[in-house]
Subunit: 281 residues, 4 copies
């Protein structure tokens, strides 16, 4: 596929969904030029949203990172995270009892609701039934894997409850050449051990895109052909956008390298509508 | 879980999504009492829709089967099939070239569009490039598996194109104790052989529910808590409904038997909101 | 990895296990120079065996193909096929009743035994119980996939019997750029549909190597470090040989291309002891 | 299937392969009557072996547990563990450099060899290349999962080496109703994250049975039909024995419960030759 200039591509859309890591930033911080790119979009009346697989914090915290860098258009109402889908599920489905979570205390704040107790797997006492209504995997931190993953298996063998995974990414970047295992990787380990069906939220699942599509209608009526999904990963951003029926743009500033992009597209059969070096091209 | 009367359950909702096989009918035909059940729903102002994994014919043909039995409320605008999602995908994504399909000529009628050629895998000549834009699996009939499944593998090794599966069910019932392999089973065979990502439409995927949710808004504004999904299969109907955030009712007139239901729920971790013997209970 | 001359490598071993396709031959026939290579091995007192995933014919027929080309050292007692493992299994485990097979009549000849009936899936009458003792997948030809694969599913839903797969290769080459779906591909389709455990014979499974290792002891006591496995496929020949604890040599005349070999080894983590352009290098 | 007396079954064989957990012992210790059962086998000239998926200690330590309870026939030369296969692999394949292990220091003792360095993943410094030749998963203890599993992923992304799993069990029992995640569960989590092929040792893989079969020949020539595999798990003990072509006996004192056994056999298609309540029946 041929490379295009991102500016040339984006001007044909009214709304842009941006993935975060590898598109707007990396482990070191926001890319140079991203602030100016958002100013250009604002000047053209193109509305930007962030679509991110993240359940470790709420939209306010996610937005704060961008506002610190002077990117004023990504306010918290422009952030759509997989954690928000998990939160909506919990609000619709759980009305009492106890939710067990794997994650930090901070990640649990966002799923707290009146009348529902939350407890970390770390603090669960298996021998004391506590009206368990749900297990939710929020974050890879905040519990002792050696001890608490086996405890999770035993909890799910003893009690029947739905299990939801609020971020299905399996790894996240720590530095140029180091990754850490993410919540989705933990979920993939536990699922065959307990032989239950885990409900996963986040890209490439179409529910993420459907949630975003409904969310943006508050900013004016938008049709699918007016939206562009911009991402660095074929298997999540581009596959999800393609399946949902919106146009997709692959950028080469993250997971997919310029030297591999043609092979990656051919090998996977996942074909973006557009290809750009980066969002500042 | 305790059994409830379907009438007692359904009266608390404004909209009902019905699965077809095992809920309203089986291989012999429509269940006795189903006509009267729909008349009851009509009298209560409850609007009914059919949500079915089927891409072998269009909504008009699917509706005709019910109208023949005097069920007048399931008109073609009340039918939502996985084939409709495939059609919408094609309309949004394909604007020219050739679509290759696995299925009968009849199944292909529904995906035909101006300016796009369709050809059965049966008639494809591998040595003649034909600007292939898409492969779509519509039906398990209409081609010679011995010859044309290998041909499909070779087509996908030679040309890069998206592959969509318009019905992800793996089997369908032929009689009381016989099944046939369905399109989803064929897709599961081909996918590892070509090592490409197949895009699947149909329950339990949330896009089916999202499509339905948007579709029904033309009949009046409906919220998620006003909808009941009724199905006989935990892994498709109930899982999909649960994930999408609507209430679910499992009926014991099809795939899930009364004697196994408690074990099935515990083993899978998929928990319906309600349990009924059948829709005429 | 650096390329070596096959002659330099092979002289350090007493026994060589050869894969067939991509090593000694391709779809067009035996490679030029293979006859002379075998004559060299004979002259050095190195004993050659063929290790092949094939259950479509017996060792006599497999040997005949080589003898026609003047390769006299690959006599039928030097042929070890996955079909022979299936045959041994049947001889040990089945003493009466009926064996159902998927394959040609010719493929079934080799598994016939006194006192045991064999019937093609094509001829099975599902409504007539016939003391079924085993289902065996022998070949991809000899039955109507459209009709008989669904019949196989129904047979296995109705009767409990072990299921064995006598060749786990998923495709085989038809020409330079065409493949056909092989028995292993058919097995991978059926297994999830019937949710039974299929018993697979053939490389990379260590039973194939163990069978071969025991078989060759009749030609003199051989230790593992005296054997070289030569193959063109990392995932079967090299992985299987490595796991069994014998030395392995990857040749670049078949499935693995010279330009991809370093990436293929790094990506898979399957590391051969030696790398040669071909067996005539 | 009908229950038989173990004494009636076993007297027809010359050699018995016993699984350990659920057959001879549970989390509380050796079952009452097992000592007398072994004395009966000794008196009949039937030779017993232990076949166990364990790589956390060597055969001497495994044998000691039985000898403490007065079971004198299970000497260390009668113990066959998956760790022994891993050790044999390492001895055949690794002649220098460094082996990285996941496990306790004690588990690593058994794989130590002259001229080869061993280092726990806990102590690996990713930024210092150390001529890594192999990664081996020995035990679920001895390292910090939160930190060291991500470190393992990064190690395998940076360096190419074979990866072996010396025990493919995914859980082990801690008490009547608690399990812990075992090495095989850790391996199943890591494998998709690094997309390399892990080499697994242990039941049901036939290499375990092949290794045992060769090992026992030092006690006299034994044919396959003279061996009985006794286990409590269809998917490992019985499947592995069946595939290897030896007779199998399922006991109901462990993983498979009497009330479920018929369903378990039908559902899996794994059929033992004999069924006994326990080894003391």
């Amino acid at each position: 596929m041929n490379l295009s200039s991102f500016k040339d591509i984006v001007k044909n859309y009214k709304v842009v969904f941006f993935d975060s890591y590898g598109v707007l930033r990396n482990y070191k911080g926001i890319f140079a030029g991203v602030k100016e790119m958002f100013e250009y979009l604002d000047s053209q009346g193109i509305v930007s949203f962030l679509l991110t697989n993240d359940a470790s914090r709420g939209p306010k915290e996610l937005a704060a990172q961008f506002q610190e860098h002077g990117i004023s258009s990504l306010t918290d109402d422009k952030i759509i995270s997989s954690g928000m889908l998990a939160r909506e599920y919990i609000q619709r489905k759980i009305t009492g009892g106890t939710i067990v979570y794997l994650g930090t205390e901070n990640s649990a704040n966002y799923i707290k609701m009146n009348g529902v107790k939350t407890i970390s797997i770390h603090d669960v006492d298996l021998d004391q039934n506590d009206d368990y209504q749900l297990l939710v995997l929020l974050d890879d931190e905040g519990y002792d894997w050696n001890r608490d993953l086996s405890k999770t298996v035993n909890l799910l063998r003893r009690y029947t409850m739905p299990i939801i995974v609020a971020n299905c990414d399996t790894t996240y970047p720590l530095s140029k050449d180091k990754v850490a295992i993410a919540t989705g990787g933990v979920a993939n380990m536990l699922e065959p051990l307990v032989q239950k069906v885990f409900i996963r939220f986040g890209k490439p699942d179409s529910q993420m895109f459907s949630f975003a599509f409904n969310h943006i209608q508050q900013f004016g009526t938008i049709n699918k052909h007016e939206i562009l999904m911009v991402g660095d990963t074929l298997q999540t951003d581009i596959l999800g956008g393609n399946k949902f029926g919106i146009d997709t743009c692959l950028v080469l500033s993250g997971n997919t390298l310029a030297k591999n992009v043609d092979v990656a597209i051919t090998a996977s059969g996942i074909i973006p509508n557009h290809l750009c070096e980066s969002v500042i091209s």
